[in-house]
């Protein structure tokens, strides 16, 4: 009998090409996602005078620099950015890579498109030149972000040099309360373990509350593994995963379906397998969360107050809180529910899937926005699905802008930014200084909480708004 293994261990072992005596592994990469920021990878490939080794294993879609106003390449204002979007078309055409280009309904944020197209599958290794590649672990893949040099390395060799990360299990057991979502779960986890809590680790999320999440919810949780410092995040494939994957365009075809499912069923962590670290949370303790500071670990329950940089803290912590409060323009002791917002953004690879838009629409229905508010669907297909369900009409009637797919105001690379000093309730993943524009103050929330902020102009507890 073999020793019990974690899911991470099983996937890792299956992808070892070479194990060196010095502890380094040449790891095979099954899927490589490319976006308009990956032009540098092609540049590296050209510098080396090499060809892309496995074009059949790469999939591309522009997302960072696309215009969410019109969805037209010609409308990208910055000529440099327009060139980057156009480059993905010429680069993928030359190298024979599948592309979902602007205008194709399948185009969207790489981390929305991958699962949607069945490119993401259990048991695979996946990389992308984007830190939120951890998202794909929601389907039981080992997926992580890499830099441009490593993008070039994967293009040339389909492999990466890796030291095996440690394994960490985060269990969330019990039942989530009404209007408490996957976003609140991951923010509660990060608040508990810190933004560096999982550095050097691959996280496996487990427990009944995680199993109870839809694939969309699981994608949200795994997406923000990087905000907890994790190398990757993953969730064991189960009936929910398998039902989601059936008939996906790039998934296994009917003739191979049973073989694929049998493989997927072999992946979950064996009973008795050891983790380097275990953390657990009670689902019932989690309430809608709002970040107040400039790190995702600065998250509080909506019922909380802005912290005081005082009592029982060391000088560095006090200084950190004071700096964050100064940037965020907040007064210690203020109830979060009394903090007014200037703008709302619903979108990003964290929260732009159909379930996210449904949750937001439910809050918005029959109400009016009181601040400028945007919905940016994660892909053309999500947008079309929402329109088929009439969600666009609900958002538009409430005063939202209903925009074209892309990363948009999560990172602002395409010019979708707030104004200095503006306070944004955002469903994205990072409340870093300047993330949504210079001087912009970002508060991370769930889609339902963002919608509640849009119609009240402050951080309202969605549980009471919908009671």
């Amino acid at each position: 009998m073999t020793a019990p293994r974690t899911m991470f261990e099983k996937i890792w072992q299956r992808h070892v090409v070479v194990d060196r005596p010095d502890g380094y592994t040449l790891l095979y990469v099954d899927r490589h996602l490319l976006h308009d920021g990956s032009a540098g990878g092609y540049g590296k490939l050209r510098e080396m005078g090499r060809k892309l080794r496995r074009p059949d294993r790469a999939f591309a879609t522009p997302d960072h620099y696309t215009s969410t106003a019109s969805g037209k390449v010609a409308d990208i204002r910055d000529p440099g950015h327009r060139k980057l979007v156009e480059a993905i078309q010429t680069n993928t055409a030359e190298s024979g890579v599948t592309l979902f280009y602007v205008g194709d309904p399948r185009q969207g944020i790489a981390h929305v498109v991958g699962p949607e197209q069945g490119v993401t599958q259990p048991g695979l290794t996946m990389v992308c030149g984007d830190s939120h590649t951890s998202t794909h672990g929601a389907l039981g893949a080992l997926a992580f972000g890499i830099g441009t040099s490593e993008v070039g390395h994967v293009m040339a060799t389909q492999c990466l040099w890796q030291r095996k990360p440690k394994a960490m299990r985060i269990s969330v057991d019990g039942t989530l309360g009404a209007h408490v979502t996957a976003k609140d779960v991951i923010l509660a986890i990060i608040a508990k373990i810190s933004a560096a809590g999982a550095v050097g680790h691959v996280i496996e999320y487990a427990g009944s509350a995680i199993r109870g999440l839809s694939v969309e919810g699981r994608l949200t949780v795994c997406n923000m593994s990087i905000e907890a410092g994790g190398r990757a995040g993953m969730i064991a494939p189960d009936d929910t995963t398998i039902a989601y994957l059936r008939n996906r365009p790039f998934g296994p075809k009917e003739a191979e379906w049973d073989k694929a499912v049998a493989f997927w069923r072999s992946l979950p962590t064996d009973d008795g397998a050891g983790f380097d670290r275990e953390v657990s949370l009670n689902a019932a303790d989690i309430v809608p969360m709002v970040t107040w500071g400039t790190s995702p670990e600065d998250a509080l329950p909506i019922t909380g107050r802005i912290p005081e940089p005082s009592s029982g803290l060391d000088a560095a912590k006090k200084d950190g809180i004071a700096r964050a409060l100064d940037y965020m323009g907040l007064t210690p002791g203020t109830l979060l529910e009394e903090v007014a917002v200037d703008r709302v953004f619903i979108g990003s690879c964290t929260n732009s899937r159909i379930e996210d838009l449904r949750a937001a629409a439910k809050v918005v229905d029959g109400r009016k926005t009181v601040v400028p508010s945007w919905v940016v669907a994660g892909s053309g297909l999500v947008k079309a699905q929402a329109e088929a369900e009439g969600l666009d009409k609900i958002f538009l009637a409430a005063g939202f802008e209903w925009r074209e797919p892309g990363c948009s105001m999560c990172v602002g690379m395409n010019g979708d930014t707030g104004k200095p000093g503006e306070r944004i309730a955002s469903t994205s993943n990072r409340n870093f200084v300047g993330r949504q524009g210079q001087g912009v103050r970002t508060h991370l929330v769930s889609p339902a909480m963002a919608a509640a902020a849009a119609v009240t102009g402050r951080f309202a507890d969605v549980r009471r708004l919908l009671a």
Partner: protein, 200 residues
């Protein structure tokens, strides 16, 4: 890649934890050519929206110009995978970063650019930062072959580094060339996988 062996240079302390790569180089500079990114280093925490230097930020304080080593609180380089966060530091003279911990992707990106990230005990890092504040411009000595760092106070510490990474830095190894030496193994892996996961 330029090899890394030893470095004796002025160091600069960053006291905040979780310095993310968005701070190191804001997203709006990423679409520009590398040489147009040089002045973007820490731009939005270094300058206010009007372009005036923010006095509280350490790079705007006297005595730290020309630093080639950073000494920071935990989780330096967390967040976005942008390799520009490493290259913009390199283009501003940096060759080594010291911190109790790093963002994993940033850490890997360092080795791709001939930069040495050094993990030291948090208490020791705090001590070094304090010494740097007390005497701005103080130097730190790094010796990669012996894996030692000598702080501004003259105290020496040993640091750990994977022998693979150490070797690559010392020799300035091109990783792609190294990998291509394993071509047979890669091809064998692909042949085996094509049978096992035939639907891919």
């Amino acid at each position: 890649m330029e090899p890394f062996t030893t470095l004796k240079a002025a160091a600069i302390p960053f006291d905040q934890p979780n310095i993310d790569t968005d701070q190191i180089i804001p997203a709006r500079f990423l679409g520009k050519a590398r040489d147009a990114q040089v002045n973007a280093l820490f731009h939005d925490v270094r300058y206010d929206p009007a372009g005036k230097p923010i006095p509280g930020f350490v790079m705007n304080q006297p005595g730290f110009a020309g630093a080639r080593i950073s000494v920071s609180e935990r989780n330096f380089g967390c967040g976005s995978s942008r390799e520009n966060a490493v290259t913009v530091m390199v283009d501003n003279g940096f060759r080594a970063f010291i911190s109790p911990s790093f963002g994993d992707i940033f850490f890997n990106n360092c080795f791709q650019n001939g930069v040495l990230p050094i993990r030291l005990d948090a208490a020791r890092v705090a001590e070094i930062r304090k010494a740097l504040h007390e005497k701005p411009g103080s130097e730190i000595s790094i010796d990669l072959p012996s894996q030692t760092v000598i702080g501004p106070d003259g105290k020496s510490d040993r640091f750990e580094i994977d022998s693979f990474r150490k070797d690559c830095l010392l020799k300035g190894v091109d990783e792609v060339n190294l990998t291509l030496g394993y071509e047979k193994d890669i091809a064998a892996f692909e042949a085996k996988q094509a049978k096992e996961l035939s639907w891919l």
